[in-house]
């Protein structure tokens, strides 16, 4: 039957629009990139005209797509075969009802003795046969995907070009391809989908642009719908392609100095402590003891009353800080419809805090309040910083999509406490979405790990419900402050440095 259709196609091209067919034929031979012998080998002699026409249109669409894709020359990889993950063969119900109308028309023709109506019914029967004659083809496709810049900076627009080739022997008269884009990426330009007809060996190229964001994303599949020529049956496939990844590492930017609490290690650093000794800031005077440095003797006092006294200064020590970032499902909140959600802000803040603490010479580690194990022990130096950068960008638990598993908080706290050094303090980055977060902060605080909460604010006050949620969160923060925990409330439209500066002024006052 398909042969019949092809032959008939050829005759119609000659009949209905002879001039335009000739036109496409001409351009087709000029632009066509496939081997010209291939087309004539596949189709019968009767279909030569049609094939020429189709190839012409196709080559046109091919060349259009290619000129539209700037990255065509960047990565010309070999097309890789696809594997079928899932397949479904379904009727489309497109021609349902034609049979009824056909026989009604025939009946009407008999009743009114109208020969034209009879013949109209014959046409209907022809369409019935056409609708049921063919089965949806089983496409064998090869897919090449190239990413213009596989290592972009966050916020970059990245062009992705996909080339789908018909690697099988069957003509695909109606092929619809939809790219499977990783959940967290947004397409900002061009449809990541296409529809075309492919003869064996032909290919179609489409490209689109995604907005890069922190993380590692794998492009690994396409959805395909292949219909038969009449559109009565369709095959829906989920095809796995070769994996192409896009890795986006955020830059090494830091924020201003992070205000820390007084618990420190014995090593010299930049956190002013209450213990007196060597330093810059004056702390107290005490009686001279043998062996005190001459430079620290208070000579003014000696001149006044002849007594030797030693000045003491606030010692500046190195702090050990663990930045604990909240990644429980409850924390995936967003202020309004647009913009990054609060976990994205948290992770961004974690990165900035980490870099700024490293820069001021503190030992910094990273932990996440999440079911997945995220732990970078406190350390210092460029290697440690690189490790942290990689962890923050590519750890699956830190991806922008909420986790599926639940966290058992007491068990997690036990593990975390066993990992924390005795002198470690905690910067807890959390929107404090519920009492559990407050509980975690208190539990760490009472076990001698002073906690500073940096809380990105996800709340709004435009509806009564949201106002209530905002009030509840504000109460939780107030109660935490009463327990002696420092809280930085970071508004959604505020820069991190501003929020920290505001908090520092409040604490030093």
């Amino acid at each position: 039957m398909s042969d019949d259709v092809a032959e008939a196609d050829g005759s119609s091209a000659a009949e209905t629009d002879g001039s335009s067919a000739a036109e496409t034929n001409g351009s087709g031979t000029a632009v066509q990139d496939g081997a010209p012998g291939e087309a004539s080998a596949v189709d019968g002699s009767g279909a030569a005209e049609l094939t020429g026409g189709v190839a012409g249109v196709e080559a046109d669409s091919d060349s259009d797509a290619e000129t539209g894709a700037p990255s065509e020359g960047v990565a010309e990889e070999a097309a890789s075969a696809t594997t079928v993950r899932e397949m479904r063969l379904t009727p489309t119900n497109h021609w349902v009802g034609i049979a009824a109308i056909t026989f009604l028309t025939a009946g009407l023709g008999v009743m009114t003795r109208s020969r034209p109506l009879f013949l109209a019914a014959v046409v209907g029967v022809g369409y019935l046969a056409y609708a049921n004659a063919t089965e949806a083809p089983d496409p064998s496709l090869a897919v090449t995907r190239s990413i213009a810049d596989p290592d972009p900076e966050p916020g970059d627009r990245v062009r992705v070009t996909v080339r789908v080739t018909n690697a099988g022997d069957a003509i695909l008269p109606d092929l619809r391809v939809v790219e499977q884009i990783p959940d967290a990426l947004a397409v900002v330009d061009g449809p990541a989908r296409t529809a075309t007809a492919l003869r064996p060996g032909a290919s179609v190229t489409f490209s689109y642009t995604v907005l890069a964001r922190r993380g590692r994303f794998a492009f690994e599949g396409i959805d395909v719908i292949a219909r038969n020529v009449s559109g009565s049956r369709e095959r829906v496939l989920d095809l796995a392609t070769a994996e192409t990844t896009l890795t986006c590492l955020p830059p090494l930017d830091a924020t201003d100095t992070v205000p820390l609490q007084g618990l420190t290690s014995p090593y010299t650093g930049r956190v002013s402590t209450d213990s007196a000794g060597e330093g810059v800031e004056f702390a107290s005077l005490r009686e001279y003891q043998h062996g005190d440095a001459i430079s620290r003797i208070d000579w003014n006092r000696y001149a006044r009353d002849g007594a030797l006294a030693t000045m003491e200064f606030r010692e500046e020590r190195m702090a050990t800080v663990v930045v604990l970032v909240e990644l429980r499902r409850q924390a995936y909140l967003q202020a309004g419809e647009d913009g990054p959600h609060v976990v994205d802000r948290s992770i961004d803040a974690t990165r900035r805090l980490f870099n700024s603490l490293i820069a001021t010479g503190d030992r910094v580690g990273i932990a996440a309040l999440a079911a997945a194990d995220v732990w970078l022990p406190p350390g210092a130096g460029p290697t440690h910083q690189a490790e942290a950068r990689h962890l923050l960008a590519t750890h699956p638990a830190l991806s922008p999509t909420p986790p599926s598993e639940r966290l058992y908080v007491p068990g997690y706290l036990k593990t975390l406490l066993s990992r924390l050094d005795d002198d470690a303090q905690v910067v807890f980055v959390s929107p404090v979405p519920d009492v559990t977060s407050a509980y975690v902060a208190r539990a760490l605080h009472v076990r001698d790990h002073p906690v500073t909460i940096l809380s990105p604010d996800p709340t709004r006050t435009d509806t009564p419900g949201r106002t209530l949620a905002a009030a509840e969160r504000s109460n939780r923060l107030a109660s935490l402050r009463r327990s002696g925990i420092r809280v930085v409330d970071w508004e959604s439209d505020e820069r991190l440095a501003e929020a920290l500066e505001r908090a520092r002024r409040r604490w030093s006052a």
Partner: protein, 167 residues
């Protein structure tokens, strides 16, 4: 941060195929009777509106009304040629419209699907024209002008269908 929304309806260009086929059906009906042509035109309008708004129901209804226009023309004394070709054109318009709606719903309006749609419409038109021509030729070459002849043609077509179904 938000990406491009997918508009789930056919591209504007997709309206063209249905509109052209619908106009052919209308002019075929006009040969028979002006009233039939009016009905056919109304049906085409509904059909095109259905494609524009991506509603299968409207497309089906429009196709049916357009076909009723052709039937009306036949009842008012249109000859076999216009009726048969009008029927084929109606089916092509409806088929192309339904196909455009399914493409629009699955892929959105920004996909350039004209090539697939044209191929689909041309295939449908070829089937309609071939059947119409075969029917007309048998009708003319038949031994007598009795309705029995047309019944025979219909029977033959049905047999073809069964053969095709059992392939």
């Amino acid at each position: 941060m938000t990406g491009v929304e997918i508009v789930r309806r056919p591209a504007r260009r997709s309206l063209l195929v249905s509109a052209v086929a619908g106009s052919v059906a209308t002019s075929a009906a006009a040969v028979g009777s002006p009233a039939g042509a009016l009905v056919c035109l109304a049906g085409t309008g509904v059909l095109v509106a259905g494609v524009a708004t991506a509603r299968h129901g409207l497309v089906d209804a429009g196709g049916l009304v357009a076909f009723l226009g052709v039937v009306f023309a036949a009842a008012n004394g249109a000859t076999a040629g216009p009726v048969v070709f009008g029927t084929a054109a109606t089916v092509v318009a409806w088929d192309a419209g339904g196909n455009a709606v399914s493409l629009g719903r699955q892929l959105g309006s920004r996909v350039d699907s004209l090539r697939v749609e044209l191929l689909h419409a041309v295939a449908g038109a070829v089937v309609g024209l071939t059947t119409a021509l075969v029917g007309l030729v048998l009708f003319r070459l038949g031994p007598t002008r009795q309705p029995v002849t047309t019944l025979f043609v219909l029977l033959l077509a049905a047999v073809l269908l069964v053969v095709a179904l059992n392939r």
